[in-house]
């Protein structure tokens, strides 16, 4: 462990400081009591533009992104840069969708995407499917945040499971105590640290490595030397389609994740969301520059620890920064993991409470009971995520995250399209979900990864040749699965109509989708002005 002492001390001090903030957060913008889901799980639905920006930013741009995207760029080059178009396309796409979701959720007091589906399509079964999809897709995502912390700890020479367990126990304790207020408050510190680190990295590291042209030159030389056809500093004819569909598919998936919805619903009004959709891309700039750290690692001749590609960025920091600043950088990554992990576990807990507990176990649950169940569920979810990492090979959790993206995309027809049209029959949507889910998992199962010898679930780039097409092109499996889902849902709807199958009742009205703060039908907004 010698040689890393300064790094460790700085890391621990920052980590403890931030954890303290998490506990104090319960008093921040204090509510009458935290014993309701609106307060514990949505921070009183009162967040303004700034807090929402930090919260949603902290939510979407996770430690894992900051570690894994550069790792991907390090390994494969241009393909890894898909994160940039992905995070550009997402905001204009979500712009109109999310304000409608906000409005209808506030009029009807909805907390989760599955709540919305329940009201819109009058189908508890469909809502249950959406809720389970959300929980299953979120779990490996939380586990992946731990992979980020683990990579940092490994680089500092800290091994064993105990430090990871301690970090997670602290996280669990303050989320339990403060709810969504904790990550919202910590997000400020996290972002300040990450911005500091990346700005220093972007300015300082190139001067050490012979400037940007030297960095890109080193990357090109490395990829030219490998026999693999899919890498390189530019895309080739065969991976362009995958690049584009992966970017678009990931963008469509992101705001279907329950934790993104949680961040959005916690905002005060529609304009806060709109303003954020134009300001959030600033993070994409950060992400794009972070991605290039992968090339810097190549130019700096950094080698990952073992086969763990996620350690390249921490190793790069360790190699080029003075010890104390490397400590700050490591703390930034670790704290960056805590914010989304907290929000994700809250979102998963809300789903369980609202759409499983209240729907199937205790129909007459009070607000206080709902909040209590959510708090406990958030603990269970986090313990589950921790076990994931401790018991299963971390590489496997990355595969699971891949599956998570594909399956959450299958809720798009019900949730996102449902916000615009009630044309689909609930039976059709259920059939579409089954079809898309089946197709997606089948495709993923059949993708091998020669790099690490996995025969199944190797990546999300599905070779079109497996469909009998004479081409080497690949496509994002989630995208194809969504197409199957939509086709089945449309056919299913026609069939259900022809058979005159009973359709659920729509509990919403057109005007619900445009309601804004100040509208008498919008609840829960009076006591939110205590800024």
């Amino acid at each position: 462990m010698s040689g890393h002492t300064t790094e460790l001390v700085i890391f621990i001090v920052l980590f403890v400081l931030v954890s303290g903030m998490g506990f104090v957060a319960a008093r921040w913008r204090r509510a009458e009591n935290l014993a309701s889901l609106d307060e514990w799980g949505l921070g009183g639905r009162s967040f303004g533009s700034w807090i929402t920006w930090f919260l949603v930013g902290g939510d979407l741009y996770t430690a894992y992104t900051f570690v894994a995207v550069p790792a991907l760029v390090f390994g494969a080059g241009a393909t890894g840069f898909f994160a940039v178009p992905y995070t550009i396309v997402i905001y204009p796409l979500a712009f109109l969708v999310l304000i409608r979701l906000w409005s209808v959720s506030h009029v009807h007091g909805l907390v989760t995407p599955a709540d919305f589906v329940r009201v819109r399509f009058g189908s508890p079964t469909l809502a249950l499917l959406i809720a389970i999809t959300g929980i299953v897709a979120t779990m490996p995502y939380i586990a992946l945040q731990l992979v980020g912390i683990e990579a940092v700890l490994k680089t500092m020479g800290v091994t064993g499971d105990l430090p990871l367990i301690i970090a997670f126990a602290i996280l669990a304790a303050y989320t339990y105590q403060s709810g969504l207020r904790a990550p919202a408050l910590i997000a400020f510190v996290k972002d300040a640290l990450i911005y500091l680190v990346i700005i220093v990295a972007i300015i300082y590291i190139p001067t050490q490595l012979g400037g940007w042209s030297g960095i890109f030159g080193a990357a090109k030389a490395k990829f030219d030397a490998t026999p693999v056809a899919t890498d390189g500093v530019l895309l080739n004819a065969n991976n362009q389609l995958n690049y584009v569909t992966l970017a678009l598919g990931s963008a469509l998936a992101l705001f279907l994740y329950p934790h993104s919805v949680t961040g959005v619903l916690a905002s005060r009004n529609r304009n806060v969301i709109k303003r954020n959709m134009s300001a959030l891309p600033l993070y994409s700039l950060l992400l794009g520059l972070m991605a290039l750290l992968g090339y810097m690692a190549i130019a700096g001749k950094v080698t990952p620890i073992g086969k763990d590609g996620n350690t390249v960025v921490p190793k790069l920091f360790d190699a080029v920064f003075p010890d104390w600043f490397a400590g700050v950088a490591f703390a930034a990554v670790a704290i960056g993991a805590l914010v989304p992990a907290a929000i994700m576990s809250i979102a998963a807990a809300n789903l369980f409470t609202r759409n499983i507990f209240r729907e199937y176990i205790r129909r007459d649950a009070t607000d206080a009971q709902e909040a209590a169940v959510s708090k406990i569920t958030s603990l269970v979810v986090k313990i589950g995520a921790l076990l994931f990492i401790l018991l299963i090979d971390p590489q496997f959790s990355i595969d699971l995250q891949l599956i998570g993206g594909v399956i959450i995309l299958q809720t798009l027809p019900s949730v996102a399209l449902g916000l615009f049209t009630r044309w689909f029959h609930r039976g059709g949507l259920i059939a579409g979900w089954i079809g898309g889910m089946g197709a997606g998992l089948l495709m993923l199962y059949n993708i091998a990864n020669p790099a690490n010898g996995h025969e199944h679930f190797g990546s999300s780039a599905f070779p079109l040749s497996k469909l009998g097409l004479d081409t080497k092109m690949t496509i994002y499996a989630g995208f194809l699965a969504l197409a199957v889902n939509l086709v089945v849902a449309i056919i299913g709807t026609f069939v259900a109509r022809a058979m005159k199958a009973a359709d659920g009742e729509d509990g919403t009205r057109t005007s619900d989708y445009f309601a804004d703060q100040g509208d008498p039908r919008v609840k829960d907004l009076e006591y939110s002005s205590s800024t």
């Binding site: 840069f81 178009p85 550009i88 905001y91 362009q240 970017a247 678009l248 709109k274 891309p281 700039l285």
Partner: protein, 67 residues
């Protein structure tokens, strides 16, 4: 139950502007080239980073116009 501002809706011609930052970043033939470079960045990298600005500007315009 009061229903204020009847006929209120999301519809606005300005929304069509949102298509620009959705479509442009998904056209690889625009940016999948090494030349011209800018500050040592191949076109592939600097142009895609520049698209972020395009996204910010268009969504900001739509927000202002539909506020």
């Amino acid at each position: 139950m009061a229903t204020p501002q009847p006929g209120r809706s999301d519809r606005s011609p300005w929304n069509w502007l949102l298509l620009i930052p959705i479509v442009i970043p998904l056209l690889p033939f625009l940016f999948n080239h090494a030349e011209p470079t800018l500050f040592g960045f191949p076109l592939f990298y600097w142009l895609q980073l520049a698209f972020i600005l395009l996204g910010v500007v268009t969504t900001a315009i739509v927000y202002r116009m539909t506020k």
